[in-house]
């Protein structure tokens, strides 16, 4: 096992798509299909590799918290290393990326052609985005993390700006500026941490240092603002509906499904362990923001007429759940939050991809342009319905497990918060069901029947795209144990070793059983 | 200050020195400037006296022939606006003059000491380089045709 564990999974995962992107970018414009195939092949290789990594990851007993650690010197003068390492939380996110990217590439097979821009460049951008996403979750060096965190913006910016829909320029610039603002706050905090921590960027070393309370709070704030913008939490969320609405559906699935998880992941990996006292001090505020986000975004989602914006708003509400899960500081809620990050990626990814299929057929993302679409494309409508149900966390789908874990975990420490958050579930039912009803149910919108592509139900390519996601959502809904086994030790270590929090006595044995 | 005056008394003008020392005693620090003040005063008096006498003695009904108030003889005719354009060559000559005027400022002190022990050939060479660099300017001006009027 040691041999496999020493295999440089993480650096290959990071470099592989980058090399792939370079190759794809060099393919001439005319050979768009070749570019697509190469990109798909590269992402599939990464998927296979990460499945191997999943298998090689040791669980239980004396398994180390961080595995696959690699470290190469980069800028010795500044104490910067290429250090990669994955704990259970990162591993889950890496798997999510590896699964989603090939599906997204497949789903956006024809997206780039419509925009009259270079097809190979689009897929090269997707691959470089994949590289950055792998890097950001695999980094165990604060500087390296920051580098990926910032560089990630560039491919996404061009994907939205060049290949998006009508308001793409505005959305792209807004996305970039918001993220950059957060990133620069984080830069100040990173530099501060570097100076306070004795000129090192090593995550493990930085968790050991003692920081003065005042300094710690400022540094926490720098990191937290960056992550809150990225996640996004209320009131930093306004860029997401614009970006999600303007991005091509595949890219939007990645944006909401993975990119935004960097925010919540960052809070778990950096804010809590590095600044435990400050995290506790700020926790009430963070929870308040998360709660507002849950209710506010859900209300806005109900009122949306644009499908992609609607899905973006639902995500903001879901991030609120993840937020309260993290800041409850219990293993149970934390595990729920991480599981939620995975499940939300799958469910919302699916939802975005299906919505993208509808939009591609109709040529419009407005709910009012649909109506009764189920009569024309029954299977596709069914998939949308399933994706909606998964998104509202129906029991039997994966998100239910995570939402339940979060609520139970929060309930043990703060009943009020849990009760208010439950309101979000009701609103979720409202916006999802209403959306499904207005688009696919009821009488057929006469304009719809005249549109040629709308008569074509789900194609084989689209089936291949949605099938794995549906399967995963159902399997993880009934049997989340393999995933929670991976997540649990990492979250426990975060809460107990790094934060020094002891879990309150479990209120019911059944719940802990469900989570194990 | 007074000491300085006493060390170099103006020959044959002892009275003035005495007076200045007396004034110096009266006004202290500024005493030595009293000489200058007196000189200025005397000059003003001579000027005022001469012109005053002129005014008193001259006839009182001057003639006004044509052209009386224009500039005298070889002066430039005061015609046109006051923004007269000068020939650009004047400026070039002025620059060239400045080139060598500045040079001489350095040449004189050098000339006083270059023969002293400890100086010698190196110092001559250095001044040679200095003059050569300046000469570069005039060579350049000459080659560019600045020195020929056409």
């Amino acid at each position: 096992m040691a041999g496999v564990n020493n295999f440089p999974f993480l650096s290959i995962l990071t470099l592989g798509p980058l090399v792939g992107a370079a190759v794809v970018a060099c393919i001439p414009k005319a050979k768009g299909n070749l570019a697509k195939i190469v990109a798909l092949a590269v992402s599939l290789v990464m998927l296979v590799l990460s499945v191997f990594m999943w298998v090689a990851f040791q669980v239980g007993g004396d398994a180390q918290r961080f595995q696959f650690r690699e470290s190469y010197p980069w800028i010795p003068g500044l104490g910067v290393n290429f250090t990669f390492a994955a704990d259970g939380i990162a591993l889950v996110m890496l798997m999510l990326i590896a699964v989603l990217v090939p599906l997204v590439i497949l789903a956006s097979w024809h997206d780039a052609e419509q925009s009259r821009r270079s097809v190979p460049v689009y897929f090269a951008l997707l691959l470089s985005l994949e590289a950055c996403m792998f890097g950001v979750f695999a980094a165990a060096d604060v500087f390296l993390f920051y580098v990926f965190f910032e560089v990630m913006l560039v491919p996404m910016y061009f994907i939205i700006g060049s290949y998006g829909t009508a308001k793409r320029q505005y959305a792209a610039v807004k996305f970039f500026l918001y993220s950059l603002v957060g990133g620069l706050f984080m830069l100040a905090a990173v530099i501060g941490l570097w100076v306070v921590g004795g000129k090192t960027f090593d995550w493990v070393a930085l968790t050991q240092i003692d920081i003065q309370t005042g300094t710690e709070r400022w540094l926490f704030l720098g990191f937290f603002i960056a992550f809150a913008i990225k996640a996004p939490f209320f009131p930093f969320h306004t860029w997401l509906p614009d970006a999600g609405g303007a991005a091509p559906a595949g890219a939007a699935a990645l944006l909401v499904g993975v990119l935004d998880k960097v925010g919540t992941f960052g809070i778990l990996r950096y804010c809590l362990p590095l600044f435990p006292e400050a995290s506790q001090w700020f926790a009430p505020w963070a929870i308040a923001l998360a709660l507002i986000g849950i209710i506010y975004a859900a209300l806005l989602a109900v009122g949306q007429n644009d499908l992609k914006r609607l899905v973006s708003y639902t995500s903001i509400a879901h991030f609120g759940f993840i937020g309260i899960g993290i800041f409850a500081f219990t293993t149970q809620a934390g595990t729920g939050a991480v599981l939620y990050m995975l499940n939300h990626g799958l469910a919302t990814g699916l939802l975005f991809l299906v919505v993208g299929m509808f939009v591609a057929r109709r040529g419009s993302a407005l709910v009012s342009d649909f109506g009764g679409a189920g009569k024309l494309v029954p299977v596709l409508a069914g998939v949308l319905f399933f994706a909606g149900l998964a998104s509202l966390a129906l029991p039997g789908t994966a998100p239910f497990v995570s939402e339940f874990l979060v609520l139970i975990g929060v309930f043990t420490v703060n009943k009020t918060v849990a009760v208010i958050a439950t309101l979000g579930i009701i609103l979720a039912a409202a916006y999802v069901l209403w959306m499904v009803q207005r688009t696919t149910q009821g009488t057929l919108n006469p304009a719809l029947a005249d549109i040629e592509p709308m008569r074509k139900d789900i194609t084989l390519r689209e089936k291949v795209v949605v099938a794995p996601l549906i399967a995963l959502l159902i399997v993880l809904g009934f049997y989340p144990k393999p995933v929670t086994d991976v997540i649990n030790p990492a979250v426990e270590a975060t809460m107990q070793q790094d934060m020094g929090k002891q879990d309150p006595a479990p209120t019911g044995g059944g719940v802990t059983e469900a989570s194990r | 200050m007074i000491g300085a005056n006493q060390r170099f008394p103006p020959p044959g003008d002892v009275a003035l020195v005495t007076m200045s020392t007396n004034l110096g005693r009266m006004t202290g620090y500024l005493g030595s400037y009293a000489v200058l003040g007196l000189l200025l005063l005397a000059g003003a008096l001579v000027f005022v006296g001469a012109f005053g006498a002129n005014r008193l003695l001259r006839p009182a009904n001057p003639a006004e022939p044509a052209g009386k108030r224009v500039a005298y003889e070889s002066g430039i005719d005061p015609v046109g606006g006051n923004w007269a354009q000068m020939q650009i060559r004047y400026y070039v000559y002025a620059f060239l003059y400045v080139l060598f005027a500045v040079e001489s400022v350095f040449l004189f002190p050098w000339a006083v000491v270059f023969a002293d022990p400890g100086y010698g050939a190196a110092v001559v060479a250095e001044m040679g380089i200095f003059v050569a660099v300046l000469a570069l300017g005039i060579v350049y001006a000459w080659r560019k045709g600045v020195l020929t009027w056409s």
């Binding site: 980069w74 800028i75 010795p76 003068g77 500044l78 920051y146 580098v147 990926f148 910032e150 560089v151 913006l153 560039v154 061009f158 700006g161 060049s162 793409r168 320029q169 792209a172 610039v173 970039f176 500026l177 950059l180 603002v181 620069l184 706050f185 830069l187 100040a188 530099i191 501060g192 570097w194 100076v195 | 650009i88 000491v113 002293d116 022990p117 400890g118 100086y119 190196a122 110092v123 660099v133 570069l136 300017g137 060579v139 350049y140 000459w142 080659r143 560019k144």
Partner: protein, 510 residues
């Protein structure tokens, strides 16, 4: 009469300065005697060859640490590093200056004295071979810069300041197109520059009154022990600083920058943005660290305030700019602010990070102006931002390069811009100046917007009917842009060698 002893002169240590000065004089002779057609190649080879020779001497002398020629010049780590940097950047600028294939006769006017718009002027604009006096002028300016960063007394520094400034004033006036703008720029630069020089000189006089000497060590000792009134010291320092801050374009002494950067011929703008900035900051560092270390607590807040003001002015005004050269000018002002953050840190990291920043910024800005010189239409360079719309479609490679440079200016990781901001801010936090870092971060956000707007213009806007063509660059511009981009990338990905070098070079001799 006591014996005068000639001060020992370390000719080897001074050789880079002397070589450049000699080459410049030779250039004047070439101008006077070489046949007209041979002048351009001869001058170009002479200027670049001389700079390379000087650079070789700097490298050979890299371990020299000496104060020579009667304590007038200090050759130490920072001055050798800065001299090397100036020479490297200067060589790249000379490549831009030497480009003749972009328009007939090159970017410089044939006869600067012709009345603008006259018939003769129009005829020369059609392609008379450009002025070749620019080479000796540029080399004179370079030699002045080399002396400026090494000057160990204030009078030498003043002379060097004049030697570097006067040719620059002239160079600004020599644009072939848009000559009125160019002449206006030169006159403005000259008048304001003269004021700044006068301030500098006045400051020197006051400091002489305070310390009884103009040598930096003497001033340092006097600061520690002098009985004279501190007003002389502070007034002198303030006036001196004004002179230097003018040269580096720090607010509120920045007003000349946009006009001059816009009006000057683009290669000259690149030369000023890269080399003059290095020289100005080199001298500022030496004056503050060597002579005024004893009063650092007094001037730190003042320079810090100026840094904040500079960053704010540069970034906020950059947002409204419609002309790419003016935008880069305001960006250069903002960058002067970031550099000042490093200067104010007042520790060894402060020096080394400033040195790093100067080199990184110099290469990036050279490449950026190199690209600007390529985007042209019938009237010469098309610098209005709206003309750049859709450039990414017409010439993706050029637009990609410029995008990369803009991202570097914005401080995105994996570019030199990020590492340099990082080290500068790190030094400032280390030096207890966190408030400057906060200001730096906030202004970085503001100035990211104009950079982004250029990117949006190039890639996301539809090309207009009149989108200018991108000229095929000659090998010299290509080389300059390539070197600049390569350095920007390399210093962002593998900054270690230069970081180590700046670290070793960050100690001043006394």
């Amino acid at each position: 009469m006591e014996d005068l002893n000639l001060p020992p002169i370390d000719y080897a240590a001074l050789s880079p300065i002397l070589i450049l000065f000699g080459v410049a004089c030779l250039g004047v002779l070439v101008e006077a005697f070489a046949p007209r057609r041979a002048r351009h190649p001869v001058q170009l080879v002479l200027a670049i060859g001389g700079s390379v020779a000087a650079l070789v001497m700097v490298v050979l002398e890299r371990n020299t640490r000496v104060v020579t020629i009667g304590d007038a010049v200090a050759i130490d780590g920072p001055s050798l590093f800065l001299q090397g940097a100036i020479l490297l950047l200067g060589i790249v600028s000379l490549l831009l200056i030497g480009e003749r294939s972009l328009e007939a006769g090159g970017p410089f006017v044939a006869q600067a004295a012709l009345t603008v718009g006259s018939e003769k002027d129009n005829r020369q604009a059609q392609g008379a071979p450009g002025n070749t006096e620019i080479y000796p002028l540029a080399v004179f300016a370079l030699s002045g810069m080399l002396l400026f960063v090494a000057a160990n007394d204030l009078l030498t520094m003043f002379i060097a300041l004049e030697v570097l400034s006067l040719p620059l004033y002239l160079l600004c006036a020599l644009a072939r197109r848009k000559r009125l703008l160019s002449q206006e720029a030169a006159l403005k630069y000259f008048l304001l520059g003269s004021y700044a020089s006068a301030f500098f000189l006045f400051g020197v006089a006051l400091l002489y009154g305070y310390a009884g000497g103009v040598n930096l060590q003497q001033i340092n000792e006097a600061v520690a022990a002098s009985q004279n009134s501190d007003i002389l010291l502070y007034a002198g320092l303030a006036l001196l600083a004004i002179g230097l801050l003018f040269k580096v374009a720090a607010a509120p002494f920045h007003v000349w920058t946009p006009d001059v950067y816009q009006g000057a011929p683009t290669p000259v703008t690149a030369f000023m943005a890269a080399c003059t900035k290095v020289a100005g900051f080199g001298a500022l560092l030496r004056v503050l660290y060597v002579a005024f270390e004893g009063v650092q607590w007094d001037y730190q807040p003042v320079i810090g305030t100026i840094a904040v003001l500079t960053m704010i002015v540069g970034s906020v005004l950059a947002v409204t700019q419609q002309d790419i050269k003016r935008l880069l000018a305001y960006s250069s002002i903002a960058n002067a602010g970031y550099l000042l953050v490093g200067v104010v840190a007042q520790n060894r990291e402060g020096v080394s990070s400033t040195l790093f920043y100067l080199v990184a910024y110099g290469f990036t800005v050279l490449a950026a102006f190199g690209v600007v010189s390529l985007v042209r239409d019938a009237d010469g360079e098309a610098t209005h931002l709206s003309r750049w719309a859709g450039l990414g479609r017409r010439s993706p490679l050029l637009a990609a390069i410029f995008t990369f440079l803009m991202l570097a200016f914005a401080g995105i990781p994996l570019t030199s811009g990020f590492i340099s901001k990082f080290v500068v801010f790190g030094a400032a936090i280390d030096g207890g100046q966190s408030w400057l870092v906060v200001a730096g971060v906030v202004t970085s956000m503001i100035i990211a917007f104009p950079y982004l707007r250029v990117i949006v213009m190039m890639w996301l806007s539809e090309p207009a009917e009149t989108t200018p063509t991108v000229s095929v660059p000659g090998w010299m511009t290509s080389a300059a842009v390539f070197i600049g981009v390569l350095a920007t990338l390399a210093l962002g990905v593998v900054p270690s060698p230069l970081l180590d070098l700046t670290n070793d070079a960050s100690l001043f001799v006394r």
